[in-house]
């Protein structure tokens, strides 16, 4: 841990040494002040029409883009993720802001609904108009493994601002300098769009983070991180005098199944893809496949052998922080110490060491040994293979795994009915089913769901990636018999600025004229 009362260090994972000290724990008085300013900003942001919020988001994206070189350099020094990955992640971050500008302009997220007064089987009904409105100030807790895309300028921030909710972001101790630079970029973007900089603010330190979740001005929380920290903050949010929604994305085991015929026809290709997927970014993805169920016999054995070759050839990498590297080391020790678990490849340090390293590791577990730690996520580049002996055995095994962000199936047409059975079973427990692919890589799209039942997330109803992430920051209101001139534009019979908006009018979905 690098937190102390004097401030927060930016640390280089490649050396483990502090680079600089920036920021200090936010005091309770400062937190109150930030929250009060966010409450004022909420009124300004809600008052901007959707077009105004779209302009704000695009201005922020431009501002990040202008600071690309600095942002990537600082983030690389703090996370060791590498310039290529970080450039890609920053591109994604800007793209997310652009997408949520489009979501605001599209406006269907408002669920605008008009029921004109009329007769029903229940008697006369008044004029009723419903739409979604912003919840108010939102707290965002970013992730160590995505210093841009799931942190200060990330998807939670983009979707909250799009909805009309100001953001107070807790600085992640694994990338404080990146957070400060990102914040400066977003503030510059807000100023360029003529919007108050208080739409985005930062708080520092663990206590201030807990205080933020408990603060009466805060109306919802977005969180990406570990199950332990997420559950602690969920409990704070739920036990407030006024409970608020807590959207925690907590990671998962992410089981991958290879069906017999797929193993026979393209085992080599699956092994190569799987090895790349579970070691991508030194295994530091919440969608990392952590468990592979392989068929018994020669084809499953060939996949394991191929996986072992790939893993044996991979170098040790640098992990995000001391805490991450320690947790990986301890997690791997636990797995290797379990009865019925043996090492197939990897796990030996390569290179010079010195920083916070993590080494790819391939384990195999007897099917009967799959309990305890083998059912939980181990964050880092480790994959466990298990052998199934029949379709029934495979489906029983799958039942022992809890909910997850993803479940992956490799199946050929020749695998027959097994495909449908696997799809049905996985659909009941995971947020996204991946077919003949790999779960790492979460597209920002209308059709994306990045979530799942607990403990994958703390709210099975919502996603943290994709356009529908905006729904987390909105609540409905109905306006009954309110005169036309007082209605929000989107709910008027003849809207002025909302041409083409999809609304449900007297029960029928249509585009406004």
């Amino acid at each position: 841990m690098t937190e102390d009362i004097r401030g927060f260090a930016g640390v280089d994972p490649r050396t483990g040494r502090d680079v600089e000290r920036i920021g200090a724990e936010t005091s309770p008085a400062d937190l109150d002040d930030l929250c009060a300013r966010a409450a004022v900003a909420a009124r300004e942001l809600a008052g901007l029409a959707r077009a105004g919020r779209a302009r704000l988001l695009r201005s922020m994206a431009r501002s990040l883009e202008e600071r690309r070189a600095d942002l990537v350099a600082v983030a690389d020094r703090e996370t060791a993720l590498g310039e290529q990955r970080l450039n890609g992640e920053l591109t994604r971050t800007c793209y997310q802001l652009e997408v949520f500008a489009e979501v605001a302009e599209d406006g269907a997220y408002l669920e605008a609904t008009i029921d004109h007064a009329g007769e029903t089987p229940m008697g006369p009904r008044p004029d009723l108009r419903r739409m979604l409105v912003p919840l108010g100030p939102v707290a965002v807790f970013g992730a160590s493994n995505f210093p841009f895309a799931f942190s200060v300028p990330g998807g939670d921030t983009a979707s909250a601002l799009s909805a009309g909710c100001p953001v107070i972001a807790k600085v992640h101790e694994a990338h404080p300098a990146t957070s400060v630079l990102s914040h400066e970029a977003l503030v510059a973007g807000a100023r360029a769009a003529g919007v108050t900089p208080d739409v985005i603010n930062l708080v520092w330190g663990r206590e201030a983070g807990v205080g933020l979740v408990g603060h009466p001005a805060v109306q919802a929380v977005g969180f990406t991180g570990s199950l332990g920290a997420g559950r602690t903050l969920f409990d704070v949010a739920s036990s407030r005098p006024s409970p608020i929604p807590f959207y925690g994305e907590l990671g998962a085991l992410n089981t991958l199944v290879v069906c017999p015929e797929a193993a026979a026809s393209r085992g080599e290709e699956i092994a190569a893809g799987l090895a790349a997927s579970f070691t991508l970014g030194v295994g530091q993805f919440c969608t990392k496949p952590g468990m592979a169920l392989l068929p018994t016999g020669a084809h499953g054995e060939a996949i394991r052998r191929s996986l072992a070759e790939h893993v044996g050839a991979l170098p040790t990498g640098f992990m995000l922080s001391e805490r991450t590297a320690d947790a990986y080391r301890r997690g791997v020790e636990t797995l290797r110490g379990m009865d019925g678990v043996r090492t197939l490849a990897g796990g030996k340090e390569t290179g010079e060491g010195g920083g916070w390293t993590g080494t790819p590791l391939l384990l195999h577990a007897d099917a009967g040994a799959v309990t305890g730690a083998l059912l939980e996520e181990c964050f880092g580049p480790v994959l466990v293979t298990v052998e199934y002996t029949s379709e029934e055995h495979l489906l029983r095994l799958l039942e022992t795994f809890g909910p997850a962000l993803t479940g992956t199936v490799h199946a050929d047409a020749a695998d027959g009915d097994l495909s449908a059975r696997l799809l049905a079973q996985l659909s009941g427990t995971v947020g996204r089913v991946v077919w003949n692919g790999f779960p790492t890589g979460v597209a920002v799209a209308w059709g994306m769901h990045h979530g799942g039942p607990y403990p994958a997330t703390t709210s099975a109803l919502h996603t943290s990636v994709g356009t529908t992430a905006i729904r987390r920051w909105l609540r409905p209101i109905s306006l009954q018999n309110v005169p036309q001139d007082l209605l929000p534009d989107e709910l008027r019979d003849a809207p002025a600025a909302s041409t083409g908006l999809v609304r449900r009018v007297d029960g029928v979905l249509s585009h406004s004229e």
Copy 2:
């Protein structure tokens, strides 16, 4: 309290005497069994296509209709709500089932989304298809004041079944015989539709209710009732090893504002409507207006005088249960004992008494005295009037009231800018703003929102009335690169049974062909 270890009494509020003993506390073993059966029923219900669930709901509505005379007679004996009101409520209950059959057929609630594989600024994107799927078994806790529409056969049950979620309903001790009869009707409806009766089951007793909320098989809870009981169960749901959403509708103060010009032009009409609204059903509505803000001067004074005349002429009524009547008596005592509060009319028992009576009461409070109990709901036929001296004073007063299910404004065009300011302020804190009307009466419609921020409900994002109530029982999944023949019909490029379904395909909302 009529609960004891021997069973549950059906009691007559007009006499306070037990009529019969029916039902016994559900044992933990029986609860396990019910939950296991609900989990099996969940698979059957999810497997019914939307058309099958629509048939189920309509069959249940018919079955209730066939038992109308018995249902109304038993409910009247248990609740003293009167045959006219209960006939109307049963009509509404059947209508709700019909409406949720239409919602299932409409299918837009699925939010079906198709993103074909393609290029994006982020590189190639896989084929992604998203829709909502049922959460699984749901617990329903009905309300004392609506033995049909918000109880065993009510809106929570209708929306959950429409979504594909089986229901386990906790029997309300204020109407056990009504619950049993309603359950029999729903089961008969299920059988007639060829669906397992385990889509709806009952549990009895407080401990079994708590056990139900904590049961691993239960995936969400719908609750209508008091803040105290609701918060207790919310805490149980949130502190489970696997937390689940708890949708509690907890009632509210429901402030009503009369603007100066409206008071001048139609004070008499407003007074008559308000007196009828707050005493409707002996004031036992969660949308009962409990606080009226009137302008200072002659027009406000005339409204108070008129209200007092109406209230003075109203008889004592019978309340739903001993607990309700006791709570009303205690609540009224507290209000009348506060400094700055005086009685304008009512509060004296009329009629023979003997049962659980509640007497309409009109109070006036000095604006400076509006604190504590005056800011909280008092369930029953009591209204407090407060005088405001200026627009600024009115808006400051409004700020002191917490979130609520509704806020009502009576305003004329001549009230000018005040209307917009009131609408903006109320939109920030209530679920439904009623204009020149009264909040009692909650239409079942696409445009209805019956909810609001805590403590009006435990989930500001959702409604318990209206078609969007279905969203509470659903979670999204994404299917990535899944072959066409394995996809649910609604997500296929060319659906077979989903003609006309509204979907978002490659970003554009359209009807499927």
